[in-house]
């Protein structure tokens, strides 16, 4: 039993998108335009050449936030979306009827429709492809050149993520919605 989350040193991110390709290879996500479990959000630079505000162009690696109070789980009529024992938000494709309530309910735009199965798919923290095989981390963390991500157990006070969050300032996305997201952006 664990409570998995992820801290992101997002200032390290150079928008190289290694995480996106690693995720697709690891989890067999289709190579289509609108198919992705994770992405790098880019905020474009503001200003007029040559007076560009450097700080305005930022990169925010993002994916399912594995909320502890997940709106997607609340609205799912068939209980296809559920919490795993390790605190991850998961989709059971055998129960999903593609009503897309969850897609509309998710404030993070983290879900998409998998064309193969006609069910909803999203980030699983690689739980079936990596964690189940004894790996200790996700494909995106493992591959990242500048080591943006720290994945780990929030219930273990000695885990690197717990120590990091205890010592650094961070913010969560759309905290005010009360979703209790488990992605933490280190400031």
């Amino acid at each position: 039993m664990a409570r998995y989350g992820m801290a992101l040193n997002y200032k390290n991110c150079i928008n190289c998108r290694a995480c996106e390709s690693a995720c697709k290879e690891e989890n067999g996500v289709l190579l289509l335009k609108d198919h992705y479990r994770i992405w790098v959000g880019v905020k474009e630079a503001e200003g007029q050449f040559p007076n560009i505000s450097i700080a305005s162009q930022t990169y925010h690696p993002s994916q399912c936030q594995h909320c502890e109070n997940a709106p997607c789980q609340q609205v799912c009529p068939t209980n296809a979306t559920y919490y795993s024992k390790d605190g991850m938000v998961m989709v059971d494709p055998t129960k999903c009827i593609l009503c897309t309530y969850c897609i509309n309910a998710c404030p993070y735009d983290a879900r998409y429709v998998d064309n193969r199965t006609n069910t909803v798919d999203k980030c699983t923290f690689c739980s079936d492809t990596r964690l189940a095989n004894g790996e200790t981390t996700t494909a995106c963390q493992a591959t990242c050149p500048t080591k943006v991500r720290v994945f780990g157990d929030l219930d273990d006070p000695n885990s690197e993520i717990s120590v990091l969050l205890a010592n650094k300032e961070y913010r969560q996305v759309k905290e005010h919605l009360g979703t209790k997201p488990k992605l933490f952006y280190i400031l």
Binding site: I14, A18, E20, L30, I52, V150
Partner: protein
């Protein structure tokens, strides 16, 4: 509605792949319509340590193989150079391996050159065909071996191909150097005694000019540095005509006018010298010719105010950067840069950078430019035979110093324009794509058509492959064991690419190709040498033919198995051969030194064992000091000290643009233009045009533009943005492929090789890729 097939499904059986926009080649068997049925091997589940070859960095990877299929590539944390990572391209190696457009069988041209028509042949037939053509050429050219040229793309197995070239005895070897880094490597080497490794793990202040490390990834620089920018220990000043991802990570971005960096560096130097902020002790002890340089800089009045007019960078910024640089020195680096083929003054620019860097004392010191150590390997190069009839390089006088890798553009143009002292008639090409990597591709096409024999070894049907006479399919990097390599630096190590799966189709590693080809060619070519080479004739009279032939035996370098050669190369290091096979990486005391210190962090060497300072204040230059002046160059018409000349300034006519090219992190030059994964991330390239200019011209995002120059044109969609100035146009390299055999890359986006003019700089005959004026038209 197109059918897309996931990797997993396609690997489970052989499913016909249909890719939208694909044009299959009618008469040739380059294209197979079905995907590769993977070779099932029981319930095998293994991990193989290998090295990536999706770009030049060669990161260590672990390939996960199930039932003979490579399912995943993960980073191998053991390699100090790649620091436990794989980038987007590294992850996409699987798509290169299972690309349905791969070259599968040997092919011989079966129609006009450029028609794209080829017929499938056996390896023996291909070798026999090459033998027939080559013996005819050498017979007619009286054994002038230099009539056959060799070119190669960068890679570990380039070494193997080069052995063939060495034995063959031609003067012409060409590679990417003159299209890439020749000027910066020699600029830094002649000045501070080596190109060095910028210690971005410890530098406090770094100027990156035109170096785009966030997008053009270099290991370990990229990984080390961007963990420390944004107020976390390292200040970054980005100097670039466009606002790159690197600029977005910097403390200051200076939008410089294209091609004026030298004026900027001279002004930085002026401030440091005038205000006496340089490292006096270092300069006194380790500079050669400083007084003359000081006089040169001050008397020419290279002031920031002077540079402002040329560069467009405010004088106040130049003062500030120079002062801050020296305040942080010696932990301050003017970053060397990599692809430094910009303009006519490239070589002088790199010299000026190196001198400015050295003024702070940041050479061979922690946080500066380091030289590091190497772990030597046992070399086993064959001794090159001497061919009396082989003539010298045709382009040797086209620049001051034409090195062993030639000046590609000068060479091509001389052959094409009939300016060579003797005919060049054949080209052997290993994984190199001159059609895309050299400016003015119309000329490259004519050059390739003019040659009697073009033999290309490659994995993909590139634009150059389609203009070849014989195509020999190499297997991809995941299907072969390559020569073991030693990587010097602050934390040196040895790494080895191990074969992950057997070669697919009829493809072979270049080692096997060279072995087969040399066996076919060796004797017939020697017969020609015997006929025309008097030295050989008299040697045979003295020693007998067998003994003389032994020296000329082309097959010599390929007699051994690659794994055997690798084991021999690392014999000095106990147990290394087995460790390299198993773990892919070796360095002495690895077991003791290598530590995991966090979920993302590894330590390779303890701090005290890292090779930050190795020179003992003796630099590898003629004087043993930092060379301010290189008088030997003056004899060759190259300024001994960097000088700004008015000819370096290029006026941009109203309504036109100066074109620059560059990189992004998802593509490697032109080698990834057909990679499904990478195209999924970046479907095509766009022309960056200033937003306000675009508005005036009525150009919106996605509008098709025809970009044209004196030499050609290309079509590309527009991306209006404020990240580029009003008189500059940019798009990324590697798109707009002409080869219809690359179903995804064909005609996708704009091709910069079609529009860039082919000027060269005077030092090494390197290309000037940023000296082209273009105009645009909405189509």
């Amino acid at each position: 509605m197109k059918v897309e097939i996931s990797r997993r499904r396609f690997l489970q059986g052989s499913v016909a792949m249909s890719i939208a926009g694909g044009v299959s080649l009618s008469s040739s068997s380059i294209m197979a319509s079905a995907a590769t049925p993977a070779k099932k091997i029981g319930n095998e589940d293994k991990k193989v340590a290998t090295l990536c070859e999706m770009c030049v960095n060669k990161c260590a990877a672990i390939a996960h193989v199930r039932n003979g299929v490579v399912e995943k590539l993960d980073p191998n944390p053991l390699f100090p150079k790649s620091r436990n990572m794989l980038c987007a391209r590294g992850n996409s190696g699987i798509q290169a391996l299972y690309d349905p457009d791969r070259l599968k069988y040997p092919l011989i041209r079966d129609g006009e050159k450029g028609s794209g028509k080829f017929k499938r042949v056996s390896w023996d037939e291909a070798y026999a065909y090459i033998n027939e053509k080559l013996t005819k050429i050498l017979e007619e050219e009286k054994d002038n071996r230099s009539t056959v040229a060799f070119c190669a793309g960068e890679g570990i197995a380039e070494h193997t191909f080069k052995s063939f070239f060495t034995m063959f005895g031609s003067s012409h070897f060409l590679n990417h150097a003159s299209l890439c880094l020749a000027t910066t490597v020699s600029g830094y080497s002649l000045t501070i005694g080596g190109y060095g490794q910028a210690d971005l793990d410890n530098a406090k202040y770094v100027i990156m000019a035109g170096a785009n490390r966030a997008e053009a990834i270099v290991t370990p620089d990229t990984m080390d540095f961007f963990k420390r920018t944004n107020g976390r220990g390292a200040k970054l000043i980005t100097v670039d005509p466009r606002f790159t991802n690197t600029a977005a990570k910097s403390d200051k971005w200076l939008a410089i006018n294209v091609g004026t960096d030298l004026a900027f560096v001279l002004a930085l130097t002026y401030v440091a010298i005038k205000e006496e902020r340089y490292n006096k002790a270092f300069v006194e002890n380790y500079f050669n010719g400083f007084d003359a340089y000081k006089e040169h800089i001050l008397s020419n009045n290279y002031t920031p105010e002077w540079a402002e007019k040329i560069t467009g960078i405010k004088a106040a910024d130049i003062y500030q950067v120079s002062r801050d640089f020296m305040a942080n020195a010696p932990q301050a680096i003017y970053y060397q840069g990599r692809r430094t083929t910009w303009s006519k003054n490239d070589f002088q620019l790199r010299r000026a950078q190196a001198i400015f860097s050295a003024l702070g004392g940041g050479v061979d010191v922690k946080g500066g430019i380091c030289f590091g150590k190497t772990l030597p390997l046992i070399e086993h190069d064959a001794v090159a035979p001497m061919y009396a009839q082989a003539k010298p390089r045709i382009e040797k006088d086209e620049a001051a110093v034409v090195g062993g890798s030639g000046s590609w553009v000068a060479f091509r143009n001389m052959v094409l324009e009939g300016r060579s002292p003797y005919p060049v008639r054949a080209l052997f090409n290993y994984k190199h794509n001159p059609m895309q990597n050299m400016p003015n591709n119309k000329k490259t096409e004519e050059f390739l058509k003019k040659l009697d024999l073009v033999v290309t070894i490659d994995t993909m049907p590139s634009d150059t492959v389609m203009l070849s006479d014989v195509i020999l399919p190499e297997c991809t990097y995941l299907e072969r064991t390559d020569p073991v390599v030693s990587y010097g630096g602050i934390e040196p190590s040895i790494a080895q690419r191990n074969k992950v799966i057997d070669p697919m189709f009829e493809s072979k590693p270049v080692m096997d190709i060279m072995r087969g080809l040399s066996a076919k060619l060796s004797k017939p070519l020697f017969e020609i040498t015997k006929k025309y080479d008097e030295d050989v004739q008299s040697a045979i009279e003295d020693d007998g033919e067998d003994k003389v032939y032994a020296d000329f035996d082309l097959t010599k370098p390929f007699a051994h198995d690659q794994a055997e050669l690798n084991a021999h190369a690392v014999e000095k290091y106990e147990g290394a051969a087995d460790i390299l096979k198993e773990k892919g990486v070796f360095y002495p005391n690895m077991n003791e030194y290598f530590k995991k210190v966090g979920v993302n962090d590894y330590e390779y060497y303890p701090e005290t064992k890292r090779a930050y300072s190795v020179r003992n204040n003796k630099f590898a230059t003629p004087s043993g000091k930092i060379e301010c002046s290189v008088p030997a160059l003056a004899k060759k018409g190259i300024d001994a000290m960097p000088v700004w000349k008015s000819e370096y300034e290029m006026a941009i006519p109203a309504g036109k643009f100066r074109f620059i090219t560059g990189r992004h992190a998802q593509f490697t030059q032109s080698g990834t233009s057909n990679n499904r994964m990478l195209l999924n991330l970046v479907p095509q390239n766009y022309a960056w045009i200033n937003k306000r200019v675009a508005e005036k011209l009525g150009i919106k995002f996605g509008d098709k533009l025809e970009v044209s120059s004196k030499v050609g044109k290309t079509t590309i969609k527009a991306y209006p943005t404020e990240k580029i100035g009003p008189d500059t146009l940019f798009f990324v390299h590697g798109f707009g492929v002409y080869s219809k055999a690359l179903t995804l890359g064909y005609n996708n986006g704009g091709n910069d090789a079609a529009i860039i003019e082919d000027g060269i700089e005077p030092m090494h005959g390197s290309t000037c890729l940023h000296d082209t004026i273009v105009e645009i038209r909405k189509v």
